[in-house]
Symmetry: C2
DNA sequence: CTAAGTGCAAAATGTTTGCATACTT
DNA sequence: AAGTATGCAAACATTTTGCACTTAG
């Protein structure tokens, strides 16, 4: 953690551009590598993982760990970001595997509650709610 | 999923006994293997993983995926269980790594809210809240 | 020039699988 | 006897690492 990039390399730029271009889609490190392989941008897998990690630390992208055995996924959230309003909750259906994004005022409050009552500063970006979605019931 | 055990084997019993004996502690599959290795109970790693998975499906133990890169951990919750009152929330500190258990009325309501407003049936056993704990701030 | 980033291939980690054998029912 | 579980080792998938080389500042 806290491994922010210090040099501006072409690989870093290309990576950001790609993430920006698929904005709001969640892509895995594998997806990114695959994309670069197919479009001829030769960026090593290790670099993808390393840069992805540092971009997370810089707040340019978010990392979501949806479930232990599938790869983590990443999402562009903006270079001048940390706009707290942008954060959305993630609901993962245990049945169909779908990942739902949810903006909800009321849910926002649980962060405040956890903080005030339990001294716990919730990180909505890392937190995923598991359950069964509407369609699957 | 849904791979409940059909035969009652000695390995299954020994596994349950062990999980019961460390009740309320979270142990990883690795911990379990290690324990069996050191105490002479020769149970293969594959069996540990297979039985752990089926015990989860039977509701005898719970599985928590704390974060993508560390192993999942398991906790005994009882053979005649599924007592809904037992469910507690899990808070994971991203800094010190501590895993906190939390019983909270108010939090219980978010399940109801998600269900009524968003048609999502929350599974509190699988859901882990990430953030920074009291001590680490 | 120096610190940081890159690519490659190899290692590490946690979990799953194929298959022959052994155990439950 | 039929069906399931076990043990072993090998396979997997994702992510990390070591090291020589290149690049940005």
């Amino acid at each position: 953690m806290n491994q922010r990039s210090k040099y501006k390399t072409s690989q870093r730029d290309i990576l950001i551009d790609y993430l920006k271009s698929v904005k709001s889609d969640h892509v895995t490190a594998g997806d990114v590598c695959e994309h670069f392989r197919s479009c001829g941008a030769n960026i090593a897998q290790a670099t993808v993982y390393r840069r992805l990690e540092s971009l997370v630390d810089e707040g340019i992208i978010n990392k979501y760990i949806i479930d232990g055995n599938s790869p983590a996924c990443f999402e562009y959230v903006g270079e001048n970001s940390h706009a707290p309003g942008e954060a959305c909750f993630h609901l993962k259906c245990e049945k169909c595997g779908k990942l739902l994004h949810l903006h909800c005022e009321e849910l926002d409050q649980i962060g405040g509650h956890l903080f005030k009552e339990h001294g716990f500063k919730l990180d909505p970006l890392r937190t995923v709610f598991y359950g069964i979605c509407d369609e699957c019931r």
